[in-house]
Amino acid sequence: MITIAGGGLAGLASAVEIARRGAAVRLFEAGPEIGASSVARFAGGMLAPWCERESAEEAVISLGAMAADWWGGITPVSRRGTLVVAPERDRAELTRFARRTSAFRRVNGSEIDVLEPALAGRFSQGLMFDQEAHLNPRQALQDLEKAAHGLGVDIVLGTKAPAKVDLDCTGIAADLPELRPVRGEMAILSCPDVLITRTIRLLHPRMPLYLVPRGDRVYMIGATMIESSSTRPPTVRSLSDMLNAAFTLHPAFAEAAVLETGAGLRPAFPDNLPRLVERNGSLHLNGLYRHGFLLAPAMATKVANTLIPETYDADHRQSKSA
């Protein structure tokens, strides 16, 4: 029996990967329901390794490229790519972004109009990352829980895990050296006047914005990156920056309804990449930072390889002989 502490993204994804290899799994979640206390609730749900490479290490691509396929087996994944645009006066940002990334094609104004008619006439150039995708984080957490149940994972809600477990996925609550919180703030908007169908990144020297469609003309916008452990609700400054950026993307967002705002603490290590760490007899998966949905599949696979090496060896031999 493999025991896991924490029913957030890392814990659930690991439970699924381990259970897929035939091991019995018991997962303890301190909260009353899955997702209630997980920072993944506030995630964008972008599966965008090539865009993330702009400010992240190469590993986001090598680890993240398989994420869309992995998630496709769990929850609906929208494979419509990412469109990166910049206001006319900030075109230099687009040049810089293109220099730091790959796997995109340059699109002009009329191509943008075809990709996203709602943005027609608003941007004269952009970058289109066709291979990228997005999902709905809360739906994905629920679907992940279902998948875990389906594989026979025993999920114990409202119960703190015993002191020693096989795998600790308690995020920022874990006591790990070098782990730090990075605060992120987001908002969810309903905008019946605007139909955008794929993730949009609006580059801006001060307040870069991403917008991820949630369906039914509901959009998540985010997100700030603040080196802080504060869990208070978003500040007016952050929200005003984000909402202004949404307005820049399309003026009709002025009439959007703000359905929700939220703030969460992303756990991160100094290189902003996730790690598997042995500590006090437990294996820890932590530090998913702003790449939870992107890197959880690869890291969960690593967890399973570590905790159930025999299966890995068997699989490995099979694939070799095949």
Partner: protein
């Protein structure tokens, strides 16, 4: 140079915001050879602990110069300065009071007032100011021993927009430490600042947003050394007439 009685040999002060990761920040700090790093405090950090990121900065062993980035009033800046003193146990404060939303120009009126209030309270103030001589004088009267004129708007990377004004500042305040703060984009800008006789340069975005922040940190450090060495070597004055650098005497006479 002596900054409020502390001997500092590196001429680079490095900002710590906007790096791809704390790991790269730490490497950039090392590569830059700087002895002072700046850190901005926001209110969010007050009710949280600011936590891990400050540990990263403390672990570098550098002097920490907290700043009041993002403050728009005297009261806000003073509160932030007190917070910083408590958190980092330093009397140093980089005083930054933003007066204009578009170019982030300092509000020099609020700046002088806040500098006076903080100096009287025992702070050692590093004021982010314009290249205006009158403002500079008032800041010195308010208790500052250092002036930090901008080279260009914060984060713009435009280089030194008004080198003549900086030259005038150098002439007008011969004994005051002058640190160019904001606007440096490339190593050549840093060279120019030092050639103009500035004592040091404070920069952040130019390194943090470079494709290779560690490489750029090293380049900036070299640039500062080059500019300073050049100034001390008393460079020649430009002239209109070409002067051959090969000797004209002793040329072989042909035929």
């Amino acid at each position: 140079m002596q900054l409020y009685g502390t001997e500092i040999s590196s001429r680079l002060l490095l900002g710590t915001a906007q790096y791809p990761s704390p790991a790269i920040l730490t490497q950039a700090i090392e590569a830059s050879g700087c002895e002072i790093v700046t850190v901005s405090l926001r209110r969010e950090t007050a009710d949280g602990s600011g936590a891990g990121f400050w540990d990263v900065l403390r672990a570098t062993g550098k002097h920490i110069l907290p700043n009041t980035a993002g403050c728009h009033s005297v009261a806000e800046a003073v509160t932030t300065a007190h917070m910083a003193r408590e958190i980092f146990g330093t009397r140093w404060i980089k005083l930054e009071i933003i007066g204009h939303a578009d170019n982030l120009a300092p509000d020099v009126f609020a700046l002088v007032e806040a500098a006076r209030v903080l100096s009287e309270d025992g702070f050692q103030v590093f004021p982010y100011t314009t290249d205006d001589l009158v403002v500079g004088e008032k800041l010195l009267t308010a208790g500052c021993e250092v002036l930090m004129p901008w080279g260009a708007p914060i984060g713009s990377g435009q280089g030194l927009r008004t080198p003549d004004a900086l030259r005038a500042m150098r002439a007008h305040f011969p004994e005051t430490l002058l640190i160019v703060d904001a606007g440096i984009g490339r190593p050549s800008d840093a060279v120019q600042a030092m050639e103009l006789g500035m004592d040091a340069v404070l920069l952040n975005t130019a390194v943090a947003k470079a494709g290779d922040p560690v490489g750029m940190a090293r380049a900036m450090s070299l640039a500062l050394d080059a500019g300073r060495a050049g100034r001390r070597a008393d460079p020649m004055e430009p002239r209109d007439m070409a002067v051959p650098s090969t000797p004209v005497l002793g040329l072989a006479e042909l035929g």
